[in-house]
Symmetry: C3
């Protein structure tokens, strides 16, 4: 791509009887510097109104008309919402829930991924779309379905699940052992006996639950590949993407990432509810997670130009926030700013979802003005397209780990706070001006200097060895409480934890105490810790038996008062830190400062970073681009940051307006 | 009617084997000045114990015996609870829920309104009842079923729904357009494809949801008419009523009101939980709503002489409160005070619901004494029967508007507070001593001087024109935030809102901000506003672009600080006010004072109305009756009210006892 | 038994492929002074892996190997969790829920108690077990199933329910009258028409709901007897037990107690969340309830040596607490301390449930050390085995009463607090150093001096006469608000309450006021009451009309201010006290002090009992054993207790360590 993609989802099929509105839309898009729209995602009923009767001409006309005016199209496949005739004629395309009841027609995201008929039907329409649009220069990207998610428990899926298990375990004895089915006498005699988890049936076997989730991902990925194959068969050669969702635990995105060429995602933060910088950090973590899936620029596929109607409160974005949020995507590695949606629908459940063009149909609205101004700014920043983020720190945030940990009973069914634990470390690093990758257990870690693994409960095969080698080779590894407890089928390790790494960390976890809501313990620093304050911790406290590790902080309360809570262990070339309790944010902020000082990791910025300011960078071979963003609703003095380089966006290097962004370019 | 109806629901079928108890009941009724009972509502199993075997003689005996002692009967049709033999033999009479699962036998309000068999069965019993009691002088009113409500999703209802839609839209294209089905590709090819909304199927089409609710009302009204036709066929010519419920959103009561001669309703306020005057206001609003359905006197059909067992807490009524609550009904236009129930049942789910005669079976109970004293008082007030309320102010509280607004996603799924918004305006008018009608959008408004439309989200066809003409003709119209947004199928208006009335109000709504729970903005009065204090607002804030309107208050916070929040627009002969935000009660109190002063609307009372006192009036051609009620649990000095006229109930015009009522009569 | 049973549940079937682990377990058990394990409860799939193929040899080997080392076995029947092949082949063994949907395979406690096939299958395995282990000297007790509970609504159960009802009522007219079915026209024409309660059908008939619960108990007891018969058929003559659960309302344990020889129960208190002494009192009440079921020593069948993984928070037990909790069982009449579980499972839903041997497999853990030390202590206390508790006070806590009261609508659907009311009286008595029996309405009360009946809403047949005779004969009886309201089919008594005892208590309840959450009334003592402070009361206040009774306290607020709230009536030889309101704990503490002083009931201890100390006693013909337990996490001076006798466990009679226990033996 040559420029930042700007635009978003567009649903002209809702307005085909109002050509003057479609014309008006085109004028407005041009005015707003829009260069890209996404078409087709919810158009199946318009593209194939009756079985086998295809009507693609209206869409072709629109694609061409847009292209004439410099607007490219991202072509969506319509599998996310199926026409009524299909479920009426072929009920097997409808999902079956965990209680084994088949859905009625309605909503979206509701098809069975296994159904041969549904696969045949999507093949039909995808092939037609590919034939018609494969060679169309206006179509630049193929967008597979929409926000894949959900699961189906129909007989076809049950059968597919059994095949998948057979493939994984070969014999039923292996499976019984891996799932520990002797507990409560749930031993299986054959693969045919296996059924998916259900609250009306089996929920007690964590291995079954975990493998079911893996299967759902596998089946979804398989369906994705089926969609892509259909497009390729039809002759479309454009790159592919799927749009992912915020902190979504329904699928393992690693597997979807392998299916497509480009990662894209949909971001809908709840702004102005807490301090905006906190919301921005949480959203930034997701950007970094999406970027790290392929370590390539990604696309911001959906975001809302105004308020989001399906959240609890439809909060308006304050002036400037739209720009800040959009630039944040770029700052973290996106090559696009795309909205849901260009024009607001008149009816149905998202009719109040914000849009570039609202029901008033005017271009003097506050939102349209901001969209236009932003479009203008982005149009001058084509040089950053394709630039990369080079992070020397990484956080491990692993969805399989999350599945297993949250499904387990204990040590805290009232809340484990995994996401929060990840965010705490993330925030601490960002406050020090460090770029961060957010990766799964499967990724390579050898190129980082600092890797952090909060609550790494489930050790996937080989992770012990990977961590050991990383530390041996001089890496600095931080792990927290409740780590290294189970193997990849959620069987507890025998012989002490963290499994296989007791020598690396120089300690053993002997017990874990759960704290009631509101209950607090204290962390007291040792003299050698580099810290001087005391901190609070909550929720979970590991009790540690220390070998070679050096205690940095110890507990201040309870019967384990005085025992080590945070430790450091020099192991061969590197260091292994262990944080034994769910400490407050301030601890993480100050603790990572000590670590990064010690190991000499430098902030992106020479000077001091004021509160509410986010700093990130992107790199080309020639330049480094610094993004300085202000998430405070007032002007902030940034002269203390001692920025050097050339301002290519924004006003200056001294002051940053409310929700303002400045981009500074430096030669490498 | 010649006197105020006093008495209530009576279930002698529970005691047929205890004739001494039935005799005792009669003595007690006479003692308590009871002149009316309701019979038959839950007697089907006693009236037709086996299919086609009717036993009406026991009820005839009771009706006659009561009549001999001056006690009239309201005859209920028994459709509200069906005998067991019927559901066993004809399962189609049982309702099917939205998940398409048929109920088992049990509870009440559980029959399919569409089932031809159920209709035939109710026709059978109703005809028999009519034949037996049509000419009985003891039977004065026909009470159709009991608290109609609920819905059925059975195949018969699905088919009836499709027919109803076909009748409404003629072509499927019209329906598709009205429901905006292109969204998510839900386009229908024929009416046969349509199914009722379900959480397991379609919920995203607001037009479908809204029409389904309309259909449920239509089908219930059709069933009501079927019941009435059966009675008429059998020769009963007494007037008819249905008993309605507090703030019930399951049906559009406008449509039921058209089916019957007299409105009646069942009131069960939660007393003593907050200040009693607030509970009384809320209940008073309902009385006014019920009266305004036909602009005729209504009947209080059910109320509890003691504590209500199905609420969270069975709170006893303090001495005097029973009288206050009963007189409130009269004060707002009722010609009756009726209880559920005369005698407490021994078993089943309402066995602890309060009654005139409780399980002790004694007449020296506190409750029986209060009931008797009240009966005595009412027996002296026959002259007010038939008198009317002439209100010059009206509030629009529209159930279709509520359906649509609450079903929509956004702008505040965490709570819109429609009911609360209506109550705020209602309270403010009542505090100024104004009688108020509470009407739907369908009613005529030309006769009022002041009409208030809080949150009139959905504009039914023609309402814009009605409002315009009202203001043109010198009327004063108040509308609030989130008004004029959608048409009658919940499609958003294009071209700006409030739809069709931007000139009348002299402004346009450009955006609506949702505030998080606990978030507050401020309303700052302009010098010309007549107000001097600042007020808080919450939940929703319209952003307004003002044309000819005069800003009265503006926002004090957020990026729209300083922009207009409340405005006034002189339009031809009248004035159109717009309240842009969900303001606190005090704002409404003081704002309406300014308006009524300005337009010269006078309180019913010359003097000052003390806190906790409610004032209302009823009128005949000759007299006006003022009802002054004290909702404080202590004596209040009311001399400041400067009451004139003759005291016909209560002690005097100077002091009002705790929970006391004084009625003053003045010649017109 | 000759010694205290020490050990717990053991699941070697999970480790049959790891013989070295089983050997290790044996070594550890010996080390920890374990003398008893429970086997077989979840072993069905290992014992009968395919239909009719029995494999009992592995278990026999383990039983024998344990026995060789002095460890006895409690043999569990495996009905609590059934193998997969059985539900696959015979779906009728799966339960059907109240919505008439059959469960899938999974979990435990999931079989139909009525199914002839399930009964045949359990007969098969039980007979085999009995044949193999009936004569094995290592097997000392037969443990029937595991924590019986739950219900099934399948057609077989419906039919059995109808038979049970026919047996109870003989004619349908009797049933209609008992259930008051005329209410809402639910009259039955025959027993065939009856179906179990369902939220999709009938819930309004309290008599039906109550009888359904009785039937579920009856059917469970019948199943228990079926299991026992099968064991006896197979030749096993060991005594039997079932393990009961904390405050379980699903079954009437009186009926299960009749089926077996020995009572046992599973205790999992939530420690360290509130003051430990309060948790201990609540748990102590359960111990006393379990002991009173047969007035014999019981067994503590399950308890957790560490943290319990299925509770909200897996809280570690502080050092010493395990010992305190274990000794509490003994102090209240247990002859065992048994754990769930000896070895932690590696997988499935209880993998983090605490165990004697945890995943580390080590014997130097904190938990293993405490278990060992405790085992050592217990091994020296064999003399207390078989000793009894002789209480002169009893509390009535009746599950049928609870079923009826909690199912009824009113007077406080937001909470009646029955359990709390029982605990308040219990705590007050315990604080005075009195041993207490906790009994149902069915038990004999003639041998007690003081009997307390909190909220005795439902009077089972004959209870009035029993209470009357108790008081006549010089007994002291305390009853509270909301007592004597309904008969055994939940029909309200006519003619005043408390039914049949108005002369004994010298008063009548006229009304009951429900107080909203947070609402408070006051109790003001009369001069003659022996009390001087005022107390708060909440939730429920009876209004009383006093005859011969002497008012002791009166209400301080509301319209019933000044009327009696607590009374005392001398009736023939005894006294009848009535507590009319839900008073705070302090009232109960001080009120019972007045009563026990008056009637001369002595504390177990001559001196003063410090806060946080529990005192209990057990008796043989020769000795009385006093258990003094400290539930404070610090040393407490107990010299004020003036203990005499010989210390047989613990340090001395002067000071008690944190969570410490001292046992003192005195000759009788």
């Amino acid at each position: 791509m040559r420029h930042i993609l700007y635009g978003g989802d567009y649903n002209p099929e809702q307005w085909l009887d109002r050509p003057e509105i479609l014309e008006q839309d085109l004028d407005y898009m041009i005015k707003a510097h829009i260069n890209t729209v996404t078409l087709g995602m919810f158009s199946w009923a318009a593209l194939e109104p009756e079985e086998g009767e295809y009507h693609l001409e209206w869409m072709e006309n629109i694609v061409n008309r847009l292209y004439e005016h410099g607007i490219s199209t991202i072509l969506g496949t319509p599998s996310g919402a199926r026409p009524k005739w299909m479920s009426d004629k072929y009920p097997e395309v409808l999902r079956v829930n965990e209680n084994r009841v088949r859905n009625l027609f309605g909503g979206r995201h509701n098809h069975c991924y296994t159904s041969p008929i549904y696969r045949e039907k999507i093949r039909g329409i995808n092939t037609k779309l590919a034939k018609r649009f494969g060679g169309n220069p206006g179509v630049v990207l193929l967008h597979i379905s929409n926000e894949y998610g959900g699961e189906c428990h129909c007989p076809l899926c049950q059968e597919a699940f059994r095949m998948w298990l057979k493939d994984r375990y070969t014999t039923i004895e292996n499976l019984n052992k891996a799932w520990w089915t002797t507990f409560w006498s749930h031993t299986y005699l054959s693969f045919d006996q296996i059924e998916s988890p259900s609250s009306m049936g089996e929920t007690a076997l964590h291995g079954l639950n975990l493998d079911w989730k893996r299967f759902v991902t596998a089946q979804t990925a398989d369906f994705t590949l089926h969609e892509i194959r259909s497009l390729r068969e039809g002759g479309a050669e454009q790159p592919t993407t799927v749009n992912l969702m915020y902190d979504y635990a329904g699928l393992n995105y690693d597997k979807l990432a392998e299916c497509v060429d480009i990662i894209s995602w949909d971001t809908y933060p709840v702004w102005h509810k807490k301090e905006d910088i906190l919301t921005a950090r949480d959203n930034g973590l997701q950007h970094d997670y999406m970027r790290s899936l392929k370590h390539q620029p990604f696309l911001l596929m959906e975001s809302c130009p105004s308020s989001t109607n399906w959240q609890g409160v439809s909060k308006l974005k304050r002036p400037g926030l739209l720009s800040a949020a959009s630039f944040q995507a770029l700052a973290h590695g996106s090559d696009s700013v795309l909205y849901f949606q260009i024009r607001q629908s008149r009816g149905a459940s998202e009719k109040f979802h914000g849009a570039v063009i609202d029901h008033s149909g005017r271009d003097d609205t506050r939102v349209f003005q901001e969209v236009t101004q932003l479009g203008d700014g982005l149009s001058r920043l084509s040089e950053i397209v394709g630039s990369k983020v080079n992070a020397s720190a990484a956080l491990i945030y692993d969805v399989e780990n999350r599945w297993a940990m949250e499904d387990s009973q204990g040590p805290r069914n009232d809340g484990l706070f995994y996401h929060e634990a990840v965010v705490k470390s993330y925030q601490a690093l960002r406050r020090q001006g460090l770029d961060v990758d957010v990766i799964s257990e499967q990724q390579d870690i050898s190129s980082y200097r600092l890797v952090i693994a909060p609550m790494l409960y489930l050790f996937r095969e080989g992770i012990e060895e990977k961590i050991r080698r990383f530390v041996e080779s001089g890496g600095h590894f931080v792990m927290t409480y409740w780590s290294g407890i189970v193997n990849s089928t959620d069987l507890c390790y025998l012989g002490g934890t963290p499994h296989g790494l007791q020598d690396v960390f120089g300690l053993e976890r002997t017990e874990t105490d759960g704290l009631y809501d509101g209950e607090v313990n204290r962390l007291i620093p040792s003299e050698n810790s580099g810290l001087s304050k005391e901190y609070e911790c909550r929720n979970l406290c590991d009790l540690l038996k220390v070998g070679t590790a050096e205690p940095l902080l110890h507990y201040g309360r309870e019967f384990y008062q005085g025992t080590p809570a945070v430790t450091k262990n020099r192991y061969k070339g590197g260091t292994a830190y262990y944080i034994g309790a769910d400490a407050e944010q301030q601890f993480y902020d100050e603790f990572y400062q000590v670590i990064t000082n010690e190991i000499g990791m430098k902030s992106l910025i020479a000077g001091k970073i004021p509160e509410d300011i986010e700093v990130t960078s992107r790199n080309t071979e020639k330049f480094r681009y610094y993004f300085i963003q202000n998430y405070k609703n007032e002007m902030v003095d940034i002269s203390c940051m001692n920025l050097t380089g050339e301002v290519i966006h924004g006003d200056n290097k001294e002051e940053l307006a409310a929700y303002g962004t400045v981009i500074v370019r430096e030669e490498v």
